[in-house]
């Protein structure tokens, strides 16, 4: 059985904290105390900022931004087959929240990617993401 997306994200941010601590701190600063709720193919979990990044299973009571998408779309965006903006326009990524919070969530995503491309562990995690069902 493929690893849950929430588990992959939890391992990913733990590696970032160890491998690229300065980038991790930038990501923390970018996200601030906001909670982002994610729904990937029906698996609902949330990413919480603060002193450390925390990935929690289940729906968030209060979330600044709520993002729904699929594992397939995440891989398409990471493989550059689809731009993130195109995925949003096509409805394969749905984002809800106030404009400020959505902007903060987007900036946090970029900070996460900046950190991930500097961390040696992340290609393996990406391979595990690919190993999931299409």
């Amino acid at each position: 059985m493929a690893e849950r997306i929430s588990s992959l994200l939890r391992r990913s941010v733990e590696h970032l904290e160890q491998e690229v601590p300065a980038s991790y701190r930038l990501l923390l600063a970018q996200l601030g105390p906001m909670v982002v709720e994610l729904d990937v193919d029906g698996e609902v979990f949330s990413l919480r900022g603060g002193h450390r990044l925390q990935v929690s299973d289940g729906a968030a009571e209060v979330a600044g931004a709520r993002i729904a998408t699929s594992r397939c779309t995440i891989i398409d965006v990471l493989d550059a087959r689809v731009a993130l903006g195109e995925a949003v326009e096509a409805g394969t990524v749905s984002v809800r929240g106030s404009l400020d919070d959505v902007q903060r969530a987007h900036d946090s995503l970029l900070a996460y990617v900046h950190a991930a491309v500097r961390a040696p562990s992340q290609p393996t995690l990406l391979s595990e993401l690919r190993a999931g069902p299409p």
Binding site: S23, V77, L78, G85, L110, H114, R118, P123
Partner: protein, 340 residues
């Protein structure tokens, strides 16, 4: 020219990176100007410092090809996948291998995970040239280039197999200590004629600041048959860039970097004119971009920036007079635009 390459184009990393690893980089770069095909192969070593402060050389192999559009891959390997031969004339990265021979190079590519395999021999057709300690931001870079080689072999990418049959090619080898994202940019070009009996080969280099607004140095290197004919430097060279190519990059590698680049990185100029004059010698060269690929890596200076190499293929044209001989050819160009 026998043994010129073996004597000068050896790997520097085992000595220089061991002595002082911080910021060290080295790569061997090959460009094939094939009939209907442009091919770039790059073996690179970059010193990286882990979160715990441990320094290591990160090896990468880059292969991109263009027939109707650019495609290819960047593969990063663990440091234990790297081997340098005792004579410093061979570099093995995973199942990929580059060997310096007395008068050429042998390159074997096996990136099976990416569907890329190939084997090429490059025979030098021109004398190499070395430029030492070029300033790049707070660092220095040295480079050796061979303006013209003959390439023979094959390369398979996905379901396409390309035959390279005595096609013209270019090689450079770069090493030094500098940091991606520091205050520098460059435009680097190889211009070769379409007709293989045409004797002229040209290499162009312009170093700028990071914003690409201030030119720090530039040169046009012109070879006639296998020898340097004239080197135009600094004020002897005038470069004009026209417009922006009206199409997006064919590909961004590694693909996840597209998330960070879209809307944030300039593309490539539509056309570049290079006019060079010195002591009665004149050359007017022109490169017209057709399409490009983006090779991206994290900035080493800022954690929220990326460094992008735009590799553009296009047509080239050159005219002028050197030592009383007429220069007049059409051909192909591959230009690299570095955005810091």
């Amino acid at each position: 020219m026998s043994a010129v390459l073996a004597g000068s184009d050896f790997l520097r990393a085992p000595v220089l990176a061991s002595a002082r690893p911080h910021g060290f980089k080295e790569w061997h770069h090959f460009v094939v100007h094939g009939r209907g095909l442009r091919l770039l192969i790059n073996f690179s070593l970059t010193n990286e410092v882990s979160g715990t402060g441990h320094a290591r050389l990160a090896p990468r192999v880059i292969v991109i090809a263009h027939d109707d559009r650019w495609t290819g891959a960047i593969e990063r390997f663990d440091d234990h996948a790297l081997d340098v031969s005792a004579e410093l004339d061979g570099l093995t990265i995973g199942d990929n291998r580059m060997t310096v021979a007395p008068d050429g190079y042998h390159v074997a590519i096996d990136l099976s995970d990416k569907g890329i395999r190939g084997e090429l021999d490059f025979a030098s057709a021109s004398r190499p040239f070395v430029v030492n300690n070029q300033p790049v931001g707070d660092g220095r870079m040295s480079w050796l280039f061979v303006p013209r080689l003959r390439a023979q072999g094959w390369l398979r990418i996905g379901d396409r197999e390309h035959r390279i049959d005595n096609d013209l090619a270019y090689h450079d080898h770069n090493w030094g200590r500098f940091w991606w994202g520091d205050d520098f940019g460059w435009t680097w070009g190889t211009l070769l004629p379409k007709a293989s009996d045409e004797p002229w080969s040209m290499v162009y280099l312009q170093m700028t600041d990071r914003s690409r607004l201030r030119c720090l140095s530039q040169a046009l290197y012109v070879w006639h048959h296998d020898e340097p004919a004239v080197i135009f430097r600094h004020a002897a060279v005038q470069t004009r860039s026209h417009g922006v190519l009206g199409r997006a990059a064919d590909c961004t590698l590694p693909p996840p970097m597209r998330l960070l680049l879209d809307g944030d990185v300039p593309g490539v100029p539509k056309r570049i004119e290079i006019a060079a004059t010195r002591a009665g010698d004149t050359v007017h060269a022109e490169f017209r971009s057709q399409s490009y690929a983006r090779l991206a890596q994290p900035s080493e200076v800022r954690l929220d920036r990326s460094t992008v190499l735009c590799e553009a293929s296009g047509t080239a044209r050159a005219s002028g007079t050197i030592s009383g001989e007429s220069v007049d050819f059409v051909g192909t160009g591959v230009f690299e635009f570095l955005h810091g």
